[in-house]
Amino acid sequence: METSADQSERQMTPAAKVMYLLALIIGLSFGAVFGFWNTGLILKSYYSTRRSIAPKALYDFSIVQYRYADAEHARTALLSFAGFSEKLEAPTPYEVEQLELFNTYARLALLEDSENNARASQGYMAKARYWCTATGRHCPSDSEMKAAVKDRDELLQRLGFQ
C-alpha cells in the first residue's frame, strides 16, 4: 500500500515543471523552424525543377508546329516558347535553355525566309546570335547558323524525332 510520503515524493516540484515546460517549448520551436526550413528546401527544388522542365513541353510543341503547321501557326508557337522562356530567364540560365532560344529564333528566321520577309528574318537572326553568344560558343555567320539548324532539324525528322 502507498503511503502519503511515497505520493509526495512522486509529485513534481515547480522547478521540474518549469524545466519540462521549457524543454517542450524549445523542442516544439526547433521542430517548427526545422520543419519550415526543410519544407522550404523541398518546395524550392520542386519549383526549380518545374521551371526547367515545364517549358520543354512548349519547346517540343513549337518544333512540331514549325514542321507541320502553316506559317502563321508555326510563328505563333515559336514566339510563344521564346516569349515564355525569356520571361522565365534566371540570372544564370542553363546552356540548354540558351541553345533552345537560339534554335527557336533561327527557326523563326528560316520561316520568315520562306515567306520572303528578309527584314523580319534579320531581326530574328540578331536574337539568335545574342543567344548563341550567351552560350560562349563560336557563332559563325547568319547563313551558316541557319544552315546548321536546318540540317539538324532535317536529320532529327529523318531519325523519327518530332
Binding site: 518545374r50 520543354k56 513541353a57 512548349l58 510543341f61 508546329q65 503547321a69 501557326h73
Partner: protein, 132 residues
C-alpha cells in the same frame, strides 16, 4: 516579375507540368500496371479538364495537340478492337483539333504516322511488343 504577371507564369508552369505528367502516365506506364484504354481515357479526361480550366492560349494549343494525339491513339486502339464507329468518331475529333492548329496535312494517314512515331519515342521496346 510583378504580382499578376508572376501569377500568370506560375499558373502556366503548373498547367504545363500537369500536361507532362499526363503524357508520362499515358505513354510510359507499362501495360500490366493498368489497361492501356484506361490510361488513355484518363489522359483524355485530364487534358479536357486542363483545357477548360486554362485561360492561357499557349497552354490551350499544347493541350489541343496532346488531346489530338490521344484521340488518334484511341482511334487506332478502337480500330484494332473492331469498334469501327467509335474509331471514326475519335479520328474526326482529332482531325478537327489538328485543323485548328493549322496543320497543312491532317489526313488520317498522316495523323496515324505522327501518333505512332510519338508512341514509339516514349515506349520501351518490351512495352511496344506487348502492345501489339
Amino acid at each position: 516579375m510583378l504580382g499578376p504577371e508572376r501569377n500568370r507564369v506560375e499558373s502556366e508552369l503548373a498547367d504545363l507540368s500537369a500536361v507532362q505528367t499526363l503524357q508520362l502516365f499515358a505513354r510510359i506506364a507499362p501495360n500490366e500496371v493498368e489497361p492501356q484504354d484506361k490510361l488513355l481515357s484518363d489522359e483524355i479526361k485530364g487534358l479536357e479538364q486542363i483545357k477548360r480550366r486554362s485561360n492561357v492560349q499557349e497552354v490551350r494549343s499544347l493541350v489541343d495537340f496532346d488531346l489530338g494525339l490521344a484521340y488518334v491513339d484511341a482511334a487506332m486502339q478502337n480500330g484494332q478492337d473492331d469498334h469501327k464507329e467509335l474509331a471514326k468518331t475519335y479520328m474526326q475529333s482529332a482531325q478537327v483539333l489538328f485543323e485548328s492548329l493549322g496543320w497543312r496535312d491532317y489526313s488520317e494517314k498522316m495523323l496515324k504516322t505522327i501518333a505512332s512515331q510519338e508512341l514509339s519515342r516514349w515506349r520501351h521496346p518490351q512495352t511496344k511488343a506487348r502492345g501489339k
